[in-house]
Symmetry: C2
Subunit: 272 residues, 2 copies
């Protein structure tokens, strides 16, 4: 079994050092709690509601930033453990809303968010590459970020590429919803897990930032599509022990297979 | 506004005349209640748990069967009204698990289920065509059947083809689920509506047939992804008044568009 921790944090926009320290503390705590895979929110290093591109640039870091090496050293102390962390990425030519997959051996992959949401488009350049699926000691970990989850083609691609677990750093702004309904994006994660027989761990923001309230929707869904744990209001951790490689069995009976029953002759291969 | 009725029925396998009478009565009642669009279950004419292909063939009807004309006459009395009904279709070469879109002018389209589930494969031939999206007096009505809903490529295609409402006859066998959780397939419908900003009406079976319990999951979801009504145990009708053409507005803000934000450069057009 793989112990997964999805961590709900409340970063402060523009405070890179403070946010880095929070992530480090959360990672340390999660590993001490036996976590094998730790997911923290989108843009956890930087905050989200930037006043300007310059402000975003001031807290953007490169994928070879020493912070990742510091987290890798923590991860190296727990054999096979993995961190998925959202960060504002500074590249030579642009800023990206990115997530890194880090192990004890360092950064294994960086994903640049493809489906930017709303005013993110005024700050970041969209990614142009398929999401990584990283072979880890605990199974294959795919990565998407927030609004990406609302594009069923994109989540399907992660599943078809073989991900056992989709790790999704998010910042879900709070929207209106009927009483007793879950956060809408959580319902999408639940359905996505079931349609693809793929576990999903999503780490959301807590609190309020420059007038934006967050959904505080952090949780973990099993490959069977049932929600295992959530955090609720405030910071905290959702936990689940999951058999990740079991996600690979897409069969539901001798005659039902969620992938084998697809009809790419009618809608293209997606993964071509 | 369009008044939609999703009707939960309990057909009896093999009893074509009885089931036809039930559908006729349900249609009459729904129209009397002001329904503009009426959806009844998958294989509502025939029942589902066939003992043999011969039994299925004995209750299969052709798409030009006089039953459809009789329903069309009822529909003609309520201007613009539409029926979506699941039936076992006899064609020259095979049996299909089909659904017809019927108006006062007769059968407008027939969809043959593409993603057959489990032992359906031993009885029916899968469809080979894209789902129809029918321009009606109340907006564009797309049609899929049951397990089709669990293929996000397929529901996306219906939305991209312009459906305001996806009408889905279903027969959802009851599966295990945690307390207080909705039927899993209903959660998929909710997420699908939201991801595509498309209303969905799904008409399920009630009761038990040859040892198979049904989920009794009939309901209607708005394009905003919130469930408007359900039936619960037994036969009955879920009702909703929806502004169907409003489904066409995929924008969520000046900078967010659920379709415009897609990246077909990375996953193909789906609708090519």
């Amino acid at each position: 079994m793989t112990r997964i921790a999805a961590v709900q944090l409340g970063p402060v926009v523009g405070e890179l050092d403070r946010n880095t320290a929070e992530i480090t503390a959360a990672l340390r705590d999660a590993l001490a709690g036996g976590a094998d895979v730790v997911v923290v929110p989108e843009l956890a290093t930087s905050g989200y509601v930037f006043d300007s591109v310059d402000e975003a640039r001031s807290v953007a870091i490169r994928a070879d930033d020493p912070r990742f090496a510091a987290w890798a050293r923590l991860l190296a102390a727990r054999r096979g453990s993995v961190l998925v962390v959202g960060f504002a990425e500074a590249a030579d030519d642009a800023l990206y809303n990115s997530a890194a997959v880090v192990t004890g051996d360092g950064v294994q992959a960086v994903y640049r968010k493809v489906h930017l949401w709303d005013r993110e488009k005024q700050v970041f350049r969209p990614g142009d590459a398929r999401p990584p699926v990283v072979e880890t000691a605990h199974g294959r970990v795919g990565v998407l970020i927030c609004f990406d989850l609302e594009f069923p083609e994109w989540t399907r691609i992660v599943a078809l590429a073989g991900a056992d677990l989709l790790a999704a750093p998010t910042n879900w702004p709070l929207g209106p919803r009927p009483n007793d309904e879950r956060v809408a994006e959580v319902q999408i994660a639940i359905a996505t897990a079931r349609m693809n027989h793929m576990a999903i761990a999503f780490a959301d923001r807590s609190g309020t930032e420059r007038g934006v309230d967050w959904s505080e929707g952090t949780g973990i869904v099993g490959a069977d599509g049932w929600l295992r744990d959530t955090v609720g209001p405030g910071t905290g951790v959702a936990w689940a022990d999951l058999d990740l490689p079991a996600s690979r069995d897409k069969g539901q009976s001798e005659l039902v297979d969620l992938f084998g029953d697809r009809r790419p002759d009618l809608y293209g291969p997606l993964l071509g």
